[in-house]
């Protein structure tokens, strides 16, 4: 068993609104950062988990997040990824 770092990102589904991201994008553009097309805001959870392999680590974070309701599948989308 080894320690792996796994990043879990929870944000609203694309079909839902994202007041935080929309406000930030709007204010950034009005500050002159025209290159910003959009911002979606979300929560990031950086896990360190013990696992047998990278796949196992990702699998286990995905499972924990859904079992413990770190996100709500009816409104959120999640991304799970390995980080260095």
């Amino acid at each position: 068993m080894q320690g792996y770092k796994v990043l879990l990102i929870v944000s609203y589904k694309a079909s839902a609104r994202d007041p935080e991201g929309e406000t930030i994008a709007h204010e950034l553009r009005s500050l002159g950062h025209e290159e910003v097309v959009s911002v979606r805001a979300g929560k990031a959870f950086l896990f360190e988990v013990k696992a047998g392999s990278e796949e196992d680590a990702i699998e286990s974070v995905t499972r924990i997040a859904s079992e413990t309701k770190l996100y709500n599948p009816s409104v959120h989308e999640v991304k799970v990824m390995r980080v260095a």
């Binding site: 609104r17 007041p19 406000t23 009816s74 409104v75």
Partner: protein, 719 residues
């Protein structure tokens, strides 16, 4: 839910042609239970809605009364039950958003939020997840608006494990002459203000009019309190400058419903260019624009043409989007066009009059299965169990997440008084009091009496701080109207509210009915009526808190009978309620109310607490614990009956006072003058932090603060 074939046939026959897709969608929303109240409309006529100080009764976005000659109160209550079951955070948050928009629709400045939450046991992960997110949703939205959530109630039971009930209310103030007439005339332009219209929240209101189904998630809406705050700011400025004649929230049913209702109320027609609405997704179809329930949108109508420019510059100042989408017309028709082509052309009258929906009711007398006797029980255990019931234990974990003090007006914050007392902050000491109550334990056993008691309890809580009750609002939460045995509860609760409003002589200035609260197996939640009462207080500095100071007599005002039906002690010891709820006693309540006002004006008591859940013992112990003082109680002084009955009876029309020692005689004579039974039942202590019960002077129980602190603070692990 989709229109029935009977309803479609009815409309097509009236029109002599087929309905367009847009018309179908519009009627589906407009004729839904949520918007048309088709199952309860007739019964709701029984409520007392008139009184000299009522300015606006039920029917508009909110009700209004005169608080003082120069101050009006505007208020509204609404449920957000269905969305909150799937997305507790946004469901609760958008509930707050909607209720606030309703109140500003009358030209008011919102100054108070109240919430009545009926949530799961807290024993399953799912119910904890729901409660936590519901509370966070209200907190995040209400706090960002800068409106204090300063009173509420929180009930917990398995009946709400998956289907919580979220009732939220907003109270605003205005000058009586500042209340918007809400009238429009042909030719008036219609401006849509606020958020863009999108596919989110499509047909949410008909979704609230049928049993839950996971496929409805498309209706989930994310609230944007920041935009709403800007709308409040902009409209407040526009109200001050008298630029508006009508403001209306786009709530359930979206643009279509708001437009149709405004036209009907004003007896005019309307022409809307759907392609002028500012959109989130450019490819929205006309039927989607009509029915979208995107949040934070309103329609506003300027007072006159000349106001337009100034209005737009206010909206621009706050960075709000808006579009001029049409105008009111003479011909009493709802016309909607998309890129020049007509898509809706309906007589206004037809649009607001769904055909009668016959509903059957299965009359079922309250199930009066008598309770097993509760005598010779372990008193200590019973007391600790009652105090650790989440319904009874302290609620700080909830209200400390709410910004109860923003605005600087909160004179009695949550946890310190029977109602929230709000100071007007107008160089006087005037204010108002608000309490909201509901008891599903009673309404489950007897919906009529249970609803009346909710009314009485809210009334009493307003009175006990020293305010004069002036008006009420109610929120009925119940089951499926298509099932006769469930619809029975709905109708009986409405009758209970009607009876209480007549008997207590208090007008009902608004309300809300939420039906179809059943789970996927078709069983109904515990039905409940939340009642909110508003009262007037001339001098907020005289408002009585629930916090005793110690070393003073405890006096119970009101008569105690052996009424354990549906009580908290039954629930915690027997697992459920049995028998009949306590008697609803309107004459006693009214008398007690006037007495309570005198007590506060004369300044003869330190503290007052309406007696309810858990009876005298729970009420007294909670007061003492919060005040950090001990308490002793003699059970026979409450009632010459078995101590269990004396201590835990939930008889109505009772207030427990800590009376100023030197004013005891004055207090007792005043009670006598009002023909109110009142007697010393014990004392608060100064240095001993303990709870002691005696029966005929024999000690029958003693607990230290440390023995109950875990019980009373048990909710902490909820948040």
């Amino acid at each position: 839910m989709p229109l029935t074939s009977f309803e479609i046939g009815y409309a097509q026959e009236a029109l002599g042609r087929r309905l367009t897709r847009e018309e179908l969608v519009l009627l589906e929303a407009e004729w839904s239970e949520h918007c048309s109240y088709k199952s309860t409309r007739e019964e709701l006529k029984r409520l007392k809605t008139e009184a000299p100080l009522v300015i606006v009764g039920p029917g508009r976005d909110a009700g209004a009364i005169k608080l003082f000659d120069d101050v009006a109160i505007i208020a509204r209550i609404e449920s957000h039950n269905h969305p909150s079951a799937l997305d507790p955070y946004n469901g609760a948050a958008t509930g707050v958003g909607g209720i606030v928009r309703d109140v500003i629709s009358l030209g008011a400045k919102p100054v108070l939020l109240a919430d009545a939450l009926y949530m799961g046991s807290g024993r399953t992960r799912h119910s904890r997840w729901l409660s936590k997110n519901i509370i966070r949703g209200i907190s995040d939205y209400g706090n960002r608006l800068g409106i204090p959530t300063a009173t509420g109630l929180a009930w917990f039971s398995e009946a709400y494990e998956k289907q919580p009930l979220i009732n939220v209310a907003c109270v605003g103030i205005a000058k009586p002459e500042g209340i918007l007439p809400g009238s429009v005339k042909p030719g008036d332009p219609i401006i849509m203000l606020g958020n863009t219209t999108g596919r989110d929240g499509f047909l949410g209101s008909s979704f609230a009019s049928k049993p839950l189904d996971e496929s409805d998630v498309a209706a989930i809406q994310v609230g944007n309190p920041f935009i709403e705050k800007l709308i409040i700011e902009a409209l407040t400025e526009a109200f001050d400058k008298k630029l508006l004649s009508l403001v209306k929230d786009l709530g359930g049913g979206g643009l279509g419903t708001a437009i149709v209702e405004t036209a009907a109320q004003n007896d005019v027609g309307v022409v809307i260019h759907l392609d002028r609405v500012h959109l989130r997704e450019p490819d929205l179809e006309p039927f989607e624009i009509i029915a979208s329930e995107s949040q934070e949108r309103m329609i506003v109508v300027p007072r006159n043409e000349g106001a337009l420019g100034e209005l737009f510059s206010i909206f621009d100042k706050y960075g709000l989007e808006y579009s001029v989408i049409g105008y009111f017309s003479k011909e009493r028709k709802v016309k909607m066009l998309f890129r020049g082509l007509p898509v809706v052309d309906l007589p206004v009258g037809l649009a607001v009059s769904p055909p009668k929906t016959p509903r059957e009711v299965l009359g079922r007398e309250p199930c009066n299965k008598e309770a097993p006797m509760l005598r010779n029980i372990d008193l200590k255990e019973a007391v600790v169990k009652v105090l650790s019931s989440p319904r009874v234990s302290l609620k700080a974990v909830i209200y400390e997440q709410y910004d109860w003090g923003v605005g600087g007006r909160t004179s009695l914050p949550p946890g310190y008084g029977d109602s929230a007392v709000i100071w007007l902050m107008d160089n006087t000491k005037r204010g108002f009091a608000v309490a909201v109550r509901g008891n599903p334990g009673y309404t489950r056993l007897d919906p009529f009496v249970g609803a009346a008691i909710s009314f009485a309890e809210a009334y009493r809580r307003v009175a006990s701080v020293g305010a004069e009750p002036l008006a009420a609002l109610d929120n009925i939460n119940s089951g499926n109207p298509e099932k006769p045995e469930q619809h029975y509860y709905t109708l009986r609760m409405i009758e209970g509210i009607a009876h209480a409003s007549q008997a207590l002589n208090l007008p009902v200035i608004g309300g809300n009915v939420s039906l179809y609260n059943e789970d996927e197996s078709g069983s109904m939640i515990d039905p409940v009526a939340s009642v909110l009462v508003i009262g007037r207080i001339e001098d907020v500095t005289k408002a009585l808190t629930t916090i005793p100071i110690g070393d003073s007599p405890l006096v119970l005002a009101g008569d105690t009978k052996t009424e354990l039906g549906g009580s908290e002690v039954q629930r915690v010891l027997l697992g459920r309620g049995y028998g009949r709820p306590p008697e609803f006693k309107p004459i006693e309540e009214k008398r007690l109310g006037i007495f309570a006002k005198e007590v506060s004006e004369k300044g003869i008591a330190n503290a007052a607490h309406s007696v309810s859940l858990g009876g005298v013992v729970a009420t007294a112990f909670k007061m003492a614990y919060k005040g950090g003082v001990g308490v002793t109680i003699e059970s026979t002084a409450i009632c010459d009956c078995d101590p269990v009955e004396a201590l835990f009876s939930e008889s109505q029309a009772r207030i427990l006072y800590e009376v100023k020692r030197e004013k005891l005689q004055d207090f007792l004579s005043l009670a006598k003058a009002f023909d109110i039974k009142a007697g010393v039942i014990g004392n608060t202590l100064k240095d001993e932090r303990l709870f002691r019960l005696t029966h005929r002077s024999n000690k029958i129980m003693e607990l230290g603060f440390e023995d109950v602190s875990e019980a009373l603070e048990g909710l902490e692990n909820l948040g």
